[in-house]
Symmetry: C2
Subunit: 391 residues, 2 copies
């Protein structure tokens, strides 16, 4: 029996009856699992779809809460199904593979479609037990790319939280005073760590958790994923990138602004102007049916026409060294991409638009907003001003 | 070629030369990836071990930071390796499977051992390309169960953060006043949501992120994973469970206390006394070589001798409805378990000890600390008093 992804076979089956989907994950690691059930479960559990109904197998610790809070059509008691599995296999020790085999037989499911990140150990054991699985190459829920109006509202709420974080950072930088080139807030050094904490408290108070928040100044910011550490300084660009997860819904916001306390050099003004121009222009390019690659191409052209080159260096790269944007929803990075890869933007998809320029010696600048793809253009889902020079 | 886990074959190979391990994950979803590289990468990337050296393949966005911050012995440039892979396969479009095949050929690696949660899509494509993989059934890093003294210090730090959260909750409940049965803090209702926010801000200010914090009162707390919602009330048990992740290191703390504002009933006093007795007794049972099952058994016996029964009900279950504890480290739940499953506690493993009793109508109580398994008994890694009746 083949264990390879069988695209044709799946397509054929799908035309007869909807595929039976199978997930095994917790809701922190798997946005798919959260998307299906709509409630948080910290440990991996099984869920599956038969016909139009979604089922979850949960232990007694989660069972009652699942009945009350989840969107599953039916919640099965894990302990009872384990019992039944032990009887079927005539042994005391059974695992999730045997459990799935029992379900397949009781629910008369011939084959399960599983997501690309389905755990290999379980997948291979299922194959060993003769349970046919069909590993999805792309997303198991292409519908996640297209947001409902409810989801758009939740992402707007995520960006309301991002903006709270950005504004808290702006206020702290604005209120700080400069002593010997370093920023001090309320008599204490304003470090990247402290600024990050100020941002994260603001996000928390707005109802969201911001992880891996970026508050990086000077050359540190030339590494777009460097979180920043140590004292923040006057006259250097400070990138603040905030992507909190709304605790209630699991949906994210994502916003970046670049600030500078003191006096900007011509080189710094140059890159901020270029990034702002590229970002605002790219947002105007977004609408239903446009290719993300072309939006990214617009940014590349803008930078190149302004003389900003991208090149590999000994320690990495400089210039515009990442994609223009990415999808946003129950994950910070999801489909579609706005990058060198061809990727048509579909109606009601949500993407970030976040060009940046990074030149060690000058610093880094990134400006990011979130938009919904609509037929008549981009609809802004984030809202915050673009003033960057703080006196 | 077999794609099944081949335990014997692996054991044989291991005696000749160490197995080549392969990971493909981001560091949020995979604690293994964080354990190996010691630095955060938000998007999935490849890492592998050949001989004694660990390699990572990172794109230009992460490359420079990896050189500076990671523990990898060597960082390879993803773009250059993709280029080489395109040449090898003579086509423009290649993916991670082809990339791994290229690595296997250049580094002369005959077979890769991958973790249980290695993504199926990549695993099956590797098999298709003729790259032999060996899916690990248990943990790919059994060493993660045994903590170094440095790791113990990081977990102690995690618990210092938990204690900050618990203490903030205690203070809020203590300072609150009762009006018509409900708690008010500073003239405003003290809800589960508000108490959770107070806890999470305290954790954040201590340098950690607390997700899924539990602050649940009354019957809500009878669902051990219910986070709690709505007003908190006088004379009801309030479970506060705080498991923050230290932002700098990725290690967790985990602590639970149960509080009551007002006057406790005899039934409430009974379950708190029983849980406290079981918890303190269970901690005394922990030492190197003891079976977690026996520690759990002690808790079961204690409850049963005190007349507290566990039973399944229509809406779930009541009594002692979860395990006694779990390992703690780079994940909130990791090996070993302290439960009905046989699981010997090894020297320098770290486990929570957290019995609880849950009876709708009376409420729930759980008390949790974290200990290191030592030859002469449990060493406490968490520290907070057990007073629970707050006037």
């Amino acid at each position: 029996m083949s264990v390879m992804p069988k695209k044709k076979a799946t397509a054929k089956r799908a035309s007869k009856s909807p595929a039976s989907l199978l997930l095994f994950a917790d809701t922190h690691k798997s946005a798919d699992q959260l998307y299906v059930g709509g409630f948080n479960v910290p440990d991996a559990f099984l869920s599956f779809k038969k016909g139009r109904k979604w089922y979850a197998l949960l232990n007694q610790l989660e069972y009652a809460r699942a009945l009350k809070e989840s969107r599953f059509d039916e919640v099965l008691q894990l302990e009872a199904w384990l019992e039944q599995t032990r009887e079927k296999f005539q042994r005391a020790k059974v695992g999730y593979a045997e459990l799935v085999a029992t379900i397949a037989s009781v629910f008369e499911i011939g084959s399960f479609k599983v997501p690309a990140d389905f755990p290999s150990a379980l997948a291979f054991k299922l194959v060993e037990l003769g349970v046919e699985i069909d590993v999805c190459d792309g997303s198991i829920f292409p519908s996640r790319e297209i947001k409902t109006e409810d989801e758009l509202a939740m992402i707007r709420e995520g960006n309301r939280c991002s903006a709270k974080g950005i504004r808290a950072a702006e206020k702290a930088i604005r209120r700080s005073v400069v002593k010997q080139g370093k920023l001090y807030l309320d008599e204490k050094l304003l470090t990247s760590e402290r600024l990050r904490s100020i941002i994260e408290v603001a996000c928390l108070e707005a109802g969201s958790l911001s992880m891996d928040t970026i508050a990086a100044g000077g050359d540190q910011a030339c590494d777009p994923h460097c979180a920043g550490h140590g004292p923040l300084r006057a006259n250097e660009l400070i990138i603040v990138d905030v992507f909190p997860r709304v605790s209630k819904t699991g949906y994210y916001g994502d916003m970046t602004r670049t600030f500078l306390k003191g006096k900007a050099s011509e080189a710094q003004k140059g890159i901020v102007d270029a990034v702002f121009k590229a970002q605002q222009g790219a947002i105007k390019k977004v609408k239903t049916g446009v290719n993300g690659k072309d939006v990214h191409g617009f940014v590349l052209d803008t930078f190149s026409s302004l003389g900003y080159e991208t090149r590999r260096t000994d320690s990495g790269a400089e210039g515009f060294i990442h994609g223009t944007g990415h999808g946003l929803g129950l994950e910070v990075h999801e489909a579609p991409r706005v990058s060198i890869v061809s990727n048509k933007l579909r109606r009601n998809a949500v993407v970030t638009i976040e060009p940046g320029l990074y030149y060690p010696g000058v610093g880094g600048c990134r400006i990011e907003d979130v938009v919904a793809v609509r037929d008549d253009g981009a609809e802004m889902l984030s809202n915050c001003h673009y003033r960057w020079q703080l006196r």
